[in-house]
């Protein structure tokens, strides 16, 4: 079934293409060289190229039938073109008479063969006129596309005036070698070429480009006289161009230093960046955005930065970001806003696993006991840990010794180490009164909970209420 479908698709695609090929083959093209013995001059058929420009440039179709009458010669289906080929070339055949040519033998009028015959002058080996032919008189000796930009307008119309050029014709424009020079995309490249003439914009640019093309990249188009000097023409977009970040943007310190560069001279940034492009990463703020132009009609869309984390934000960054964030909060604030922090630090009850991996609920005792990170930075012990443990039957509700910690038969007498190592974990299931049953100076076993680092005098001075919980009014010391 699939094979059949593919074959059908292939046929559907190939058939129209094949038909177009047959149609082209059927269109008869006059073979000048084959008829070289019949025609001693060009103007015999192409009368308009002669002295009277009002005469038609093409012969009539019936003139072929003089020989190709179907009897002595087979009939041919030839018809003169109804309109000239789409072009941006200014040339017209009636100008030929005004184009004298210098030869070793002296100045003489330009003939048809000067442009349409090969250099050896073989009669009727007719060929299309080439730019090199024009440049043999009008050029400086360089190749067509390498010629001085000033010369373009000698033969070519600016793109907006070349009305008959189609989008496909524009897309097929050859690329001059100047465009391939490293650094051409910079202002010192194409920008210098565009503005380095006495005209508002170089004719070499205007021949192939219009303002729409510049707006592909240039946010600062309204501030650039050279761009404004170009007319609008959407056909110019047929020349594909991609805005690429300059090499400086790939340098190691770019992310850190681009703010300072912007503050030093915003004009460079403003060429390709709108104010909104900052907001792809930055929290919108006046200092960042004010130096750039806001997105507006008549301005290019500019660069579309893709937000990506800096190199420091590796796979394990979320676990260790606290120290960096505490050290340079202003750096974080460049891209993050406080709700970003609170998304994890004040978690949503209906959120699926994000910071924690899938299945974390099952394994969380391992991370929580020896606090891989501080749980209480995001979770309140009461409303989060105790609430859930209460639902799960994990909180102490009766007398101690119910046997939950059954892997250690003497846990209750030896729990001190475990408690001092992970008191936060204990408080997720136990409340103060559980511990005061033994650890109180007022009753129970009167076991002292105080251990290494305990400073009774300091705590009494800071808050004797805590001491009173076990000692009542008889706080020692």
């Amino acid at each position: 079934m699939t094979v059949r479908l593919l074959i059908a698709l292939a046929v559907a695609i190939a058939l129209p293409a094949g038909l177009r090929g047959q149609e082209a083959a059927a269109r008869v093209r006059f073979d000048h060289f084959k008829h070289r013995s019949l025609f001693p001059t060009c103007v015999e058929c192409h009368q308009g190229a002669g002295e009277d420009p009002d005469l038609p440039i093409w012969p009539e179709a019936e003139s072929c039938a003089t020989c190709h009458d179907g009897t002595t010669r087979p009939k041919v289906e030839w018809a003169p073109p109804t309109e000239s080929r789409p072009s941006n070339v200014k040339f017209a055949h009636d100008l030929v008479s005004m184009m004298p040519r210098k030869t070793p033998q002296g100045e003489r009028a330009l003939t048809c063969g000067d442009c349409h015959l090969p250099a050896d002058g073989t009669w009727m080996a007719v060929q299309r006129a080439t730019p090199e032919g024009c440049l043999s008189c009008h050029g400086t000796g360089a190749a067509h596309l390498a010629e001085s930009g000033d010369l373009c307008s000698t033969c070519h119309l600016p793109l907006p005036r070349a009305k008959r050029l189609r989008v496909a014709d524009v897309a097929a424009f050859p690329e001059p070698p100047s465009h391939e020079v490293e650094g051409f995309a910079r202002g010192t490249g194409h920008g210098a070429l565009a503005t380095g003439t006495s005209d508002p914009v170089a004719a070499s640019c205007a021949t192939c480009h219009a303002r729409d093309f510049c707006l592909t990249c240039h946010v600062d188009a309204p501030e650039q006289p050279a761009i404004q000097a170009l007319a609008l023409d959407p056909r110019s977009l047929a020349i594909a161009v991609t805005l690429r970040a300059p090499p400086s943007h790939a340098e190691a310190g770019f992310l850190r230093e681009h703010g300072a560069a912007l503050r030093t001279d915003a004009r460079q940034c403003a060429t390709c960046h709108t104010r909104e492009s900052c907001f792809a990463c930055h929290a919108p703020s006046q200092p960042v955005s004010a130096a750039l132009y806001a997105r507006a009609p008549g301005r290019g869309a500019g660069a579309h930065p893709v937000r990506r984390p800096p190199d420091s934000h590796g796979a394990n960054f979320s676990r260790g970001h606290a120290a960096v964030a505490a050290s340079t909060p202003a750096t974080c604030a460049g891209c993050h806003v406080r709700p970003d922090c609170l998304q994890c630090h004040r978690p949503d009850a209906a959120a699926t696993p994000g910071y924690h991996r899938a299945g974390f609920l099952t394994v969380h005792p391992a991370s929580a006991y020896a606090r891989e990170t501080s749980c209480s930075e995001c979770h309140n012990v009461g409303s989060f840990c105790q609430t859930c443990h209460q639902s799960a039957g994990l909180v102490s509700t009766r007398a101690l010794g119910s046997g939950y910690h059954d892997a250690s038969p003497f846990f209750i007498v030896g729990h001190g180490q475990a408690a001092r190592q992970s008191l936060e974990s204990c408080t997720a299931c136990h409340v103060e009164r559980d511990c005061l049953k033994c650890h109180s100076a007022l009753g129970g076993r009167r076991a002292s909970p105080h251990g290494p680092g305990f400073d009774a005098d300091r705590l009494r001075s800071k808050n004797p209420e805590m001491c009173a919980a076990c000692h009542g009014k008889a706080i020692p010391g």
Binding site: A294, N316, V337, C341, A358, E377, V431, L459, M466
Partner: protein
């Protein structure tokens, strides 16, 4: 009216108020606003234990083994007690928490630099059980403040949070920040009535005291100050914070923190910091880390120390929690343009707890954690990620693998298959839990203003024990999410800091 019914009523009322506010904001042409509504619901369940007891005379004794109940549960009988206790597998706890988080910012209020910010959450358990934490109370205000910001100063008034080395502190009050960008200096001071740690509720709220433990009767006043200096090569910061019980006029906490970093090279940084608990008279957390980062390699080695912090209104600090000291290293390498490998290792050791008893020996006081993983991008739209983690230490250990295969043909759509297998034995209880999960996540950006998410995952969980209390517990978790981004205000020049306008939702970042 019951608590659940009250919650629902409050939720509906708050949702209506939010809509009214939105309508009013939308009609205020001169204003700018940004509103992000993130609504989520998930269906989850879990299962724990249920304490039970039987008369001593009903227990069954087997030679060489401990006493059990007639149906095979190991029981604990205290000397002289007439009943023995044991834990049965608990009931299934099913919950369907529904939340809507609204993040609203208003500007263009007639005074340049003035803006209003609100971040609130409505929550309810649509199943009515409220087993899952986080939906009580139904209306929670995470932040809600007015801000006036200029180039050199920012003033905030209302409910807000400050994040520093001392943690994320919430309070209702005022904060003033002054800065001299040229010199890289800034100072900050704040004062207000504090919120409970890790939460958005006052410490007096019943919701933070589900077990009816001791609880302060009045909110603490929190005051703090910070000063920082930053340059291209180094930063330094000092923070001080105190909390005072307004009823007793005694300290709840008093801490000082130092933090700094130097960058001797554009790819190398050394960050270090420590905090000192003035109230207890001991050092709290501290760490130092040397890091290298470029586009291919990220490496870090460090040492750290962790000690929990307790408020003085509890007795926990008097129990002398001991810190642990750890050394860690992590490495991430782009081994190939389509593959990145990562690894990390940490070893830690607790200080001597000075609580050893002859009857209880051999408790763990050291541990380690390591992980090894990688991310493969076989094609631009495909990402395969996997990581094996193992940790061993006091209290509990765990080991397991988690992986995902994600397909994201565009920024608008992503689909991921996830799976994991983990096991977790405990040190102080016979309970080796094993969980296998498999799931699918999908995210779709319907427009620049709407983002949708769906996920479903299957959990197979078993708890192994040498008695009848072993059990299996399977569940299907479902979750859905809708994020709406609404905004108005073309002139972004007037935007104050701390507003984001990215389409697509914050989760995308």
């Amino acid at each position: 009216m019951g608590t659940t019914a009250l919650n629902r009523t409050l939720s509906a009322g708050a949702a209506g108020a939010a809509l009214l506010l939105l309508v009013r904001v939308g009609g205020a042409g001169a204003q700018g606003y940004h509103l992000r509504l993130d609504t989520r619901i998930q269906s989850v369940s879990f299962r724990g234990w249920a304490l039970d007891s039987i008369p001593v005379g009903d227990t069954v004794s087997t030679p060489g083994e401990g006493p059990t109940s007639p149906d095979g549960y190991a029981v604990r009988c205290l000397d002289g007690a007439s009943y023995c206790a044991f834990f049965r597998p608990g009931p299934e706890r099913r919950s369907q928490p529904l939340t809507t988080t609204a993040d609203l910012t208003l500007w263009g209020l007639g005074v340049a630099g003035l803006s209003m910010h609100a971040l609130g959450r409505l929550g309810a358990d649509v199943g009515g059980a409220d087993y899952w934490p986080g939906t009580d109370p139904a209306v929670q205000l995470l932040e809600g403040y007015a801000q006036y910001a200029t180039h050199r100063a920012t003033v905030r008034l209302g409910r807000q949070t400050v994040a520093s080395r001392l943690g994320v502190t919430g309070f209702d009050g005022a904060e003033v920040s002054l800065r001299d960008r040229r010199r890289g200096l800034d100072v900050q001071g704040y004062l207000g009535w504090g919120l409970a740690r890790g939460g958005v509720l006052p410490v007096t709220s019943p919701a933070v005291n589900p077990l009816d433990d001791f609880q302060p009767v009045s909110r603490q006043v929190v005051a703090g100050a910070e000063a920082g200096w930053r340059s291209s090569g180094a930063d330094a910061r000092i923070a001080y914070q105190r909390e005072v019980d307004t009823k007793t006029d005694k300290f709840v906490s008093e801490r000082l923190a130092l933090q700094g970093s130097v960058r001797p090279h554009e790819r190398v940084s050394l960050t270090a910091g420590a905090d000192y608990d003035i109230a207890f008279g001991w050092w709290g957390n501290a760490e130092a880390a040397l890091a290298y980062a470029d586009r291919r390699v990220r490496a870090q080695v460090g040492v750290r120390r962790y000690r929990p912090h307790f408020d003085l209104w509890t007795i926990w600090g008097a129990f002398s929690p001991v810190p642990y000291r750890a050394a860690d290293a992590s490495l991430s390498v782009v081994a190939h343009r389509r593959f990145t490998a990562r690894a990390r290792y940490e070893r830690y050791e607790f200080d001597d707890a000075e609580a050893a008893t002859p009857l209880f020996q051999g408790a763990e006081s050291t541990g380690w954690r390591w992980a090894l993983g990688g991310t493969l991008t076989p094609a631009p739209a495909w990402t395969v990620d996997g990581e094996y983690r193992s940790e061993f230490g006091p209290g509990a250990s765990s080991a397991g693998f988690a992986g995902s295969v994600a397909y994201a043909p565009s920024r608008r759509l992503s689909i991921a298959l996830t799976g994991s297998s983990v096991k977790r034995p405990l040190e102080y209880r016979f309970n080796e839990a094993v969980a296998h999960t498999i799931g699918v996540d999908a995210e779709f950006e319907a427009s620049t203003a709407v983002r949708l998410g769906l996920s479903a995952s299957r959990y197979d969980e078993s708890h192994d024990r040498p008695d009848a209390a072993a059990y299996d517990w399977d569940q299907l978790r479902l979750a859905a999410r809708v994020v709406l981004q609404l905004g108005h205000g073309a002139d972004l020049r007037g935007l104050p800091p701390s507003i984001r306008m990215l389409p697509g939702g914050r989760a995308e970042r």
